[in-house]
């Protein structure tokens, strides 16, 4: 059997050393009535047959070329430097556990310490954690922080926050008796105002005003941000937000039908003790050598149990590593370049689409970065037509928002080369 090591001879020798006759002698604690005859599963296959089966499943999916993918909505096709997979496929990284023994885990610890710093720098806040599952749970965790910090029971969601993030926020809030309300006006019970910048449709919100009104009401301001946008747009720290969260998929992770990706969270110094999940810090050995270890564990479930800031244990370390490699590959100028290319192509595309008969910007007065909403009469038909031409067209957001009938959001990144834009426009003309 593929991944087992003991031979029958080994097994016999081990049973003898233990001093029992048979395996069953080791399983006597299990009530006989529970013992299974066999699993109702097919017998195992050779590696070749396994891969054949998996490959034929993969072949039943349709992969659209990255350059002809204009769909975003939280997951984006981007250029991923080969360096990312070259690092994350190192078994020393991907087959290690959470770094409980720091001296034998300095690689992971240092990499995640760098991740924390990168996220803190990008969001212009003091401290970031070691990662969360995804953008949705990051939003929810931030809301929980605000709830505990303020002792208040209401979360205000301003504008078009990703609808799935709202759903997850609700699931987290439900259990704890927290009310989630849409709106822009915080009240005296409001723990936090949450907004997404750019929002789910790609549009810019007035982050500073939202932040100030949250603060004026004694609530925290939580910004859910696109990490790449922060090379151009004001980061949460600049407009005074208390907590920044977001989805890190764009930082070197493949779409992978929605996961695994990575959530990030950073905050002001005052909130650090409320952070969920792992935190890595520096520590020194007797010889004064700097190392890294798990820090502020007293917030966590394995120490604080039911009083922990969160229940998170396994997080998304390897995805955080991928994001670190990505950000380090890019550096500040590379990240800006990538953000600008998307911005420019999206603006060029928006202009060309607006010139097509029947097409108009859905929110002509609002600005956007590299994702933008257009309105057209027959949204779903357009999307289907593009699929037939091999293009993964825009996202039909009507699915989530009644008021957005006929609104399609388009995304451009550095993988949508100018000729791909031509092909899209031609297909729509």
């Amino acid at each position: 059997m593929p991944y087992l090591v003991h031979s029958d001879e080994d097994r016999a020798a081990m049973l003898e050393a233990i001093g029992v006759q048979s395996m069953d002698d080791l399983l006597t604690d299990i009530p006989g009535s529970l013992r299974l005859e066999a699993l109702e599963l097919p017998a195992g296959l050779s590696e070749h047959e396994t891969m054949s089966q998996i490959t034929s499943l993969a072949a039943r999916n349709r992969v659209f070329p990255d350059r002809l993918t204009f769909r975003g909505g939280g997951v984006y096709r981007r250029f991923i430097p080969a360096a990312v997979a070259a690092v994350t496929s190192k078994p020393e990284f991907y087959t290690a556990y959470t770094p409980y023994q720091p001296e034998a885990s300095q690689g992971t610890l240092q990499a995640i310490f760098e991740f924390q710093t990168l996220i803190a720098e990008l969001t212009a806040l003091d401290v970031a954690n070691a990662s969360l599952y995804d953008g949705a749970t990051a939003v929810a965790e931030a809301a929980m922080m605000a709830h505990i910090h303020t002792g208040r029971n209401e979360i205000v969601v301003a504008g078009y926050l990703h609808p799935e993030y709202v759903e997850v926020l609700r699931a987290f809030s439900d259990g704890r008796g927290i009310k989630v309300r849409k709106g822009t006006e915080p009240g005296p019970k409001t723990a936090a105002v949450i907004f997404q910048q750019p929002d789910f449709l790609g549009l810019l919100v007035d982050a500073r005003t939202l932040t100030e009104s949250a603060h004026a009401a004694g609530a925290l301001a939580i910004a859910c941000v696109d990490p790449i946008s922060l090379a151009i747009l004001a980061p949460p720290g600049q407009y005074g937000a208390d907590i920044a969260v977001g989805e890190g998929q764009q930082l070197g992770l493949s779409p992978s039908y929605g996961g695994p990706h990575v959530g990030f969270i950073s905050c002001r110094k005052e909130l650090v003790r409320r952070l969920p999940g792992r935190l890595i810090g520096t520590a020194y050995d007797k010889q004064g050598r700097r190392g890294f270890n798990l820090a502020l564990a007293a917030r966590e479930q394995h120490i604080r149990r039911e009083k922990a800031t969160s229940n998170i244990c396994t997080n998304h370390s390897l995805c955080a590593l991928a994001a670190s490699v990505y950000m380090t590959y890019m550096g500040p100028d590379g990240l800006r370049q990538v953000a600008e290319v998307g911005f420019k192509r999206a603006h060029a595309l928006a202009e060309r689409l607006s010139a097509l008969p029947g097409w108009e910007p859905a929110f002509p007065d609002r600005q956007f970065l590299n994702e933008f909403p257009m309105r057209v009469a027959n949204g779903p038909a357009v999307v289907r037509k593009l699929a037939r031409k091999g293009i993964l067209g825009p996202l039909d957001v009507h699915r989530w928002f009644r008021e957005l009938k006929g609104v399609l959001t388009f995304t451009c990144t550095e993988v949508n080369d100018p000729r791909a834009l031509d092909e899209l426009v031609a297909a729509l003309s």
Partner: protein, 495 residues
């Protein structure tokens, strides 16, 4: 050797990587956005050339222990061999390049894989349906408790307590609390199993669920599980299974048959998806019929060979994360199950139990064994017997690192003082187990002859034992505004 931080290796003058140009007519961001909307200072990300970057990460990698090179007997974590073919499977473009919002008919293969995985997991744990959405074990626990809560609510039953044994993993009480429950601890008896008397005394109509893992965190099978289930169900509460220990009995018995109503599984433990230095994992939750209506949306449904995502589930607790779960990990777990088959999974658990008992036998004269065997897939020893020499479990752990082994889990479960929790898994050879036992003997001998050597361990690693107390003090100083060293991040030198 230690490695500088990327930020320390960075040079301001280093060039950005070559990247595509926009190559379109378009405005500049500064022409479109108000000054206020623009970032004023660029983020201080490091600037490294690709060769420097790759060497930086390669050197960091070589500072890690990992199951690829070391025996990693971390109890409760099931660090078994991660099949390399699974990595190839998950990175097939037909999976890796799928957008989560593609239309259903373009992702039939992906949905079919999820469907098949669900069926396989149902077969292994004995439940009706499984949600693949949760991202990890703790996430699965919380998801299940949300469902249990919704179930009780749907019956107009407002239960407020969740029972958790004192030997439980920290995520159990944390998940219960985050789900809005009051946590009540149930004591273990002297035999390491849950005390039925104590359980009896804590059960009440207020109790929504009892969270258990079986074998428990001491590696011992809860022999009275059927009685427990009966007691719990008699009060209208539900029984929850923490699947971290599922590796003990695949094909031998099933949580569903034991009476568990909800079960999470750690695909990154039992089903070999790599742990990644702390995730990503996947924590699917299986449920019996009563809980099915409350499963998160969407579920994967199959009719006449056509697969679809079902979003219309009125009683659902909603979403617990974006999209459909850690799909890449699901591919790996599915590949593992296909390769192993029912026969392979069964043998895996049998071998895991065999290895644990064998290793326990090898070291039973060296360390204290607080509970009688046989154990299941892991055992908990104690370094209590080395206390007279001033040697603690932590010293044993560090001394093992010096000998080329990762350390067992220490100081967990909390019910055993100086706990050393060893889980060898089925993918370690007898030769490795023997070498580990020999190292334990050597360390115990050293505890007697030269305990200081153990306090000084590890010596053969990139850094020696780190002063965690001093580190915590430095963080406090920072958080209290008494120091500029943020400890939790690198900070650029003031300009």
């Amino acid at each position: 050797m230690t490695e500088p931080l990327s930020f320390e290796l960075s040079r301001r003058s280093a060039l950005a990587p070559r990247l595509p140009e926009a190559d379109v007519r378009a405005p500049e961001p500064s022409e479109v956005f108000a000054q206020d909307q623009l970032r004023t200072n660029p983020p201080d990300l490091p600037r490294l050339s690709e060769p420097e970057l790759m060497r930086h990460y390669s050197r960091m990698a070589s500072m890690n222990y990992s199951i690829s090179e070391q025996f990693y007997p971390l109890g409760s974590c099931t660090m078994k061999y991660n099949p390399v073919v699974n990595e190839a499977a998950a990175t097939l473009p037909g999976f890796a390049d799928l957008h989560p919002y593609q239309d259903e008919d373009t992702v039939q293969g992906a949905l079919d894989l999820m469907w098949r995985l669900e069926r396989a997991l149902c077969a292994v744990v004995g439940v009706e349906r499984v949600t693949l959405q949760p991202a990890a074990g703790a996430h699965g626990e919380w998801t299940a408790l949300r469902m249990i809560s919704a179930y009780h609510h749907s019956r107009g039953d407002n239960r407020t307590e969740v029972l958790v044994p004192d030997s439980a993993h920290g995520t159990n009480p944390a998940s219960a609390a985050l789900s809005g429950f009051h946590v009540v601890e149930v004591k273990s008896g002297p035999d390491g199993r849950i005390s039925l008397a104590d359980l009896e005394s804590k059960l009440s109509p207020q109790v929504a669920a009892l969270m258990l893992t079986n074998p428990n965190t001491l590696g011992l099978f809860e022999r009275e599980i059927l009685d427990i289930a009966e007691m719990v169900h008699a009060t209208g509460a539900m029984l929850y299974y923490d699947g971290a220990n599922l590796n003990a009995f695949m094909g031998i018995c099933r949580p569903g048959d034991m009476g568990f109503d909800a079960v999470h599984m750690n695909l990154h433990k039992t089903f070999t998806t790599p742990h990644g230095g702390g995730g990503p994992g996947a924590g699917p939750v299986g449920v019996k019929a009563d809980l099915v209506p409350f499963l998160p949306t969407p579920t994967v449904e199959r009719t006449n060979g056509h697969l679809k995502l079902d979003f219309k589930r009125p009683k659902s607790i909603g979403r617990v994360r974006s999209f459909y779960g850690n799909f890449g990990m699901l591919v790996r777990a599915y590949a593992y199950i296909v390769a192993m088959g029912g026969d392979g999974l069964t043998q895996a658990s049998r071998d895991a139990v065999l290895s644990a008992n064998y290793l326990r036998k090898q070291v039973e004269d060296d360390l204290e064994m607080p509970h009688e065997g046989p154990c299941m897939h892991e055992f908990v020893a104690s370094a209590h017997n080395l206390a007279p020499e001033g040697v603690r479990a932590l010293d044993v752990a560090k001394a093992l690192l010096d000998r080329g082994f990762y350390a067992p889990t220490v100081y967990f479960p909390l019910v055993v003082p100086e706990a050393i929790m060893v889980e060898p898994t089925e993918t370690e050879s007898k030769a490795t187990l023997d070498a580990f036992a020999a190292a334990i003997k050597e360390i115990v001998a050293e505890a007697r002859s030269n305990p200081q050597a153990l306090h000084d361990a590890p010596r053969n690693l990139p850094v020696g034992r780190l002063d965690e107390v001093a580190a915590a003090r430095r963080i406090n100083a920072y958080l209290q505004g008494l120091s500029d060293d943020p400890v939790l991040r690198w900070k650029p030198a003031p300009k």
